[in-house]
């Protein structure tokens, strides 16, 4: 995230957070009222408890009061029990609401993330989006929106009630006791802000170390064979040291906060001893009242902590909510469900240009006609724009109107449902989910057993199954790690074929299909559907030979196109690239 964005995030205001509060609380009016009512009751009970003390002590000292010690003690137990029950319900309601808010936030944001364009996805990166979904729409936000707000309200009620009772006992002593308390809030808010920054540093250090370790361990062969151990060790050491320095700084701040609340409030006791004692000597208050003052002072300490927490989290959560806003407002796609459905899968590119996310024109003015049912090979060196061309046909990259036609229909008027069902891609690095192979092929689609078996057979995945522990039910490891690159790609081919597409886009299936199996693949592909249009990016001569037409790309432009036999004779770029094979 760049600096400008960060500054934007820092300008937190309740106004910009308001729509989130409305979203979270809409439909939870009952809980909201329950929490508010219970907060009032809790606040009242928690100040009544120490208030009763003075009467007991007065009785003990022999003063004549309306109630006996026994009755007063009975009242204390009753208040304690009521407090336990009420507070349990209140805290329980708040906790469940926290979890519910987290759930609602995540559901809403994920619902928007799936609509983001691929370009927006790339701009944020998977890691960033997931962090926003899991952390920004996470526990802290849930806590703040419910517990943070209502604990503060409860605390405010306790503080008001407590101070009101203290003032009834003695105004001067109360003033002496409560004057230093706001310092706690200010101090805490300040320290916690600094602490947040230190923890952010710690987090960065940790993720830096994790990145480094995962590179080193996954490439241990290279590290060892090239004798990079010393280098790797010293890098690790310096990273560790920076992590530990930040951790110590954060711990210093953390301890300061704890000590402030563990001991800092006791300065109020000094005020109580001197001012309260002095008033007691002069007879203006009784010793019993002094003891009640002490008890009431205690009820003030933790509410201060809650305020400090609220203030320090306010900025963090505000920033988190704005990061969620940013995701929601990013470029998104609306499927065209009322568009036209073509009757065949011919593809026509007319002066098609494709730009990278940075605006660089990576495919320039490409005009190609692909007949329905034909096999077209796209060749060219790395960076020639072949993959981008496929992505454009898939309409994963936006293109100008009237530059891409499928079955004669311009892409902007194409029915999205038709495209989902009929255009399928097999990317170079397929994305697999960590579920079974079968689920990875089906992706939840309802497909007949026969179609599934056909897809598995054509994709040559069939020959892998006996070697996998549970066949089709084999669990694919995280990001497909338990499968070889070739197997992953074969799963992706089966996934594409199982939906019976009319237009198949293959991005360099070399690793899926070796020289032996490739021939069988093409033969069976034609066998299942002779009207299938196929566009394949390839480096392999045997594939090119098989194609109806070859498109040669160089630096984003089509430099040659035509049948293989013709290009072979023509010379030019095609012959140059493949001269070693053609020698």
């Amino acid at each position: 995230m760049d600096e400008a964005q960060r500054e934007l995030d820092e300008s937190v205001g309740i106004g910009r957070m308001w729509h989130w509060f409305r979203f979270f609380w809409r439909g939870h009016l009952f809980v909201l009222i329950l929490i508010l009512v219970l907060s009032v009751v809790t606040a009242a009970l928690s100040v009544v408890f120490p208030w009763l003390w003075q009467f007991i002590i007065a009785e003990a000292e022999g003063a004549e009061t309306a109630l006996s010690i026994r009755t007063l003690a009975g009242w204390m137990v009753a208040v304690g029990a009521a407090q336990m029950l009420v507070y349990f319900v209140l805290q329980g309601a708040r906790s469940v609401m926290n979890a519910r808010i987290e759930w609602l936030a995540r559901r809403r944001v994920f619902g928007e993330v799936v609509r983001m364009t691929s370009r927006a996805h790339r701009a944020y990166g998977v890691g960033d989006i997931v962090t926003r979904l899991s952390d920004d729409a996470g526990e802290k936000t849930g806590w703040f929106v419910c517990s943070g707000v209502f604990r503060s309200i409860e605390s405010a009620l306790v503080v008001v009630a407590s101070i009101a009772l203290m003032l009834r006992i003695d105004q001067f002593v109360t003033a002496c006791i409560i004057l230093p308390l706001p310092l706690l809030i200010i101090g805490q808010a300040f320290v916690q802000g600094a602490m947040g920054r230190e923890y952010a540093k710690v987090q960065r250090a940790i993720s830096g170390i994790n990145d480094e370790l995962s590179v080193v361990f996954s490439g241990i062969r290279v590290v060892r064979a090239n004798q990079m151990e010393d280098q790797v060790r010293s890098r690790f050491q310096s990273q560790l040291e920076s992590q530990s320095t930040s951790e110590v700084s954060a711990a210093k701040l953390q301890q300061t906060v704890w000590l402030m609340y563990g001991y800092g409030w006791q300065f109020a006791m000094v005020a109580l001893i001197i001012a309260g004692g002095w008033k007691a000597i002069s007879g203006e208050i009784t010793v019993g009242e002094l003891v009640s003052l002490e008890g009431l002072t205690m009820t003030l300490v933790w509410p201060m902590f809650d305020f400090g927490m609220f203030v320090s989290r306010f900025k963090q959560v505000g920033a988190a909510l704005f990061r969620l806003d940013a995701l929601i407002e990013s470029e998104s796609i609306t499927p065209n469900i009322s568009g036209d459905c073509p009757s065949d899968a011919s593809v026509s590119l007319r002066n098609l240009s494709v730009r990278t996310d940075d605006g660089e024109e990576i495919v320039r003015n490409v005009s190609v006609e692909i007949d329905s049912g034909s096999l077209v090979a796209v060749v060219g060196s790395v960076g020639a724009g072949k993959s981008q061309l496929l992505r454009a046909i898939l309409r994963d990259i936006p293109v100008a109107p009237r530059t891409l036609f499928i079955g004669g229909i311009p892409s902007e008027a194409l029915n999205s449902e038709w495209a989902f069902d009929n255009v399928a891609i097999v990317p170079q690095d397929p994305v697999l989910l960590s579920t079974t192979i079968k689920e990875n092929i089906l992706l939840g689609r309802d497909v007949s057993e026969e179609d599934l078996l056909k897809a598995i057979s054509v994709s040559r995945l069939e020959s892998d199954l006996p070697m996998l522990v549970d066949g089709l039910a084999t669990m694919v490891g995280e990001r497909g790690v338990t499968l070889s690159g070739g197997q992953q790609q074969r799963v992706a081919i089966a996934r594409a074929l199982v939906g019976n597409p009319s237009l198949l886009l293959l991005d360099d299936p070399t690793s899926a299909l070796d020289a032996d199996t490739e021939a069988q693949f093409w033969a069976s592909l034609i066998e299942i559907d002779s009207s299938l249009t196929t566009v394949v990016v390839t480096h392999r001569i045997s594939t090119i030979e098989r194609s109806d037409s070859v498109v040669v790309m160089d630096a984003g432009e089509v430099v040659q196109q035509g049948p293989y036999a013709q290009l072979k004779l023509e010379g030019g770029a095609f012959a140059r690239v493949y001269k070693r094979c053609l020698a």
């Binding site: 010690i69 336990m84 759930w103 559901r107 004798q227 004692g277 000597i281």
Partner: protein, 563 residues
Amino acid sequence: MHPLLKLSSLFRPHKRQIVLCQIALLLGVGLNLIGPVLLAYAIDENIPAGDGRGLLITGALFSLVLITNIALTLWARIGAEKVAQSALVDLKKELYDHLLDHDLSFHDQHTSGQLITRIQGDASSMRVLFTEVIFHLPADLVTLIGMFAIITIKAPNIAILVFWVIPIYIVAFLLFGKYSPPFFMRVRTVTSKLTGFLSEYVRAIPTLRSFGRIGWAIDQVEKMNLEVFKRQSAAFLIPPLYFNTLFFVRALGFSGVLYFGALSVESGEVSIGSLVLGLGYLRLMFSPLMRLSFHQSTVERAKASAIRIAGLLDDHPSVVDCDSPSQFLALTKAIDVENVSFSYDSDALVLKNISLSIKAGSNVGIVGATGSGKSSLLNLLLRFRDPKQGQIVFDGVPLKEISIASLRGSTGLVHQDVLLFPGTVLDNLGGDRVLAQRALDLLGLELSLDSNLSLGGQNLSRGERQLITFARAIVGDPSLLILDEATSAIDPATEERIQEALGAILEGRTTVTVAHRLSTVRGCDNIFLMSQGVIEESGNHDDLLKKGGEYAKLWELQEGAIS
């Protein structure tokens, strides 16, 4: 020996510091107990006597005690944190060193994620154990004992009224410690599952969208999301239940002290100050007891971590130097592989009695299908593993008698997986500016040594990235260079560019090129075609083609019979 004791040696260098911090903390605890005593003194002595001056002195004393206490405690806790961090750094370094030197077979069995968890997670739980439990335990126990002593001396009648709550607290802690962890464990499990789910589905969104499966993806994620909510709702109810029970017990404690205390005050056995002291201690004992209740789970977790760490450190690598290894400087004659057989974990042999010879200065290709044994042979040549039978001999010296460091020092490896560290080009080339620049020049790679490689070098093209790994392999001027599928993921045009650059760096070096694409090795002096663990054919490209055997057949298939 208990696994935790084994790791206690980490703290030995910090003995002095730990003792000092512990003393400071205990002094703080002592001072903390004095506060309520002073308040009681003011109520019992200063106020009834009308002693205003005495009241001021008591107040001043209270401040002094408080400030000293805060200073001592802060110093002690931060000191403990520093000790813990320093011990943690030592432990992580030790683990890392151990893992870096461990066998390849070990690394093949453990994912990098597992190893990271050992270093980051398990080591950190040792830190928590120290700062939260070991360091605080004496102080917390002293707090409770000190309170008991003071109150028994000052007001024996009150003592029982204060301390009866402790057994109840303890029962509550035990119940909480026993029944709550599974709930929180479930929350952690589903939360991390959800995060895993999210990263997968977010990554897969473009794919899922192209198949029109977005609705399905939303359902899948929502299922997990809802599960997290349910688990959290259950778990989040436990702390309110627990704490409110404790609060109620404390309220009963307060009521008891006041009720029975007040009766005793009436009969003149107890002073009001003692009663206030009892209330104060009831409050003070809460947090040490609270900490004690969390110790159990911390200790359990630390113990599990300690067992894993100790197990890891006890597991020693098996590929190590012999007693007096000879130094290997450069290959001058030949590498001889003599009747070598090899298998992973006693399963079927992947290399079956192989013999071959690689002449110094020659350029050798090894080809074959996946599973033919090419990579296993390389692992043996670099002594990542040892053969089960037979031996490999470098210039007449068996590989097992050569120092591993010297062997690796004169070999270079370029692997199929491009592995670049986050950092500059120079960082990736070993840090020596002159040598690094020479390597880049040799390859004709026009890159600044200081240019940054963000995230595995995503800002460079695939070919450039691979060329950097070539530069890294030759930066130490190795006499033996091994290219393991180094160009397999590269298109012919880029491969051609690399081949041209390679011409310069292969000069005067022995090179072993492993590839499944035959065009990669066609210029080699000698080519070995491997199949199912044996060498099926060998010779140079032309000989092999002329022979019309397996190699010729493969060539025809791969390169389209246009020879």
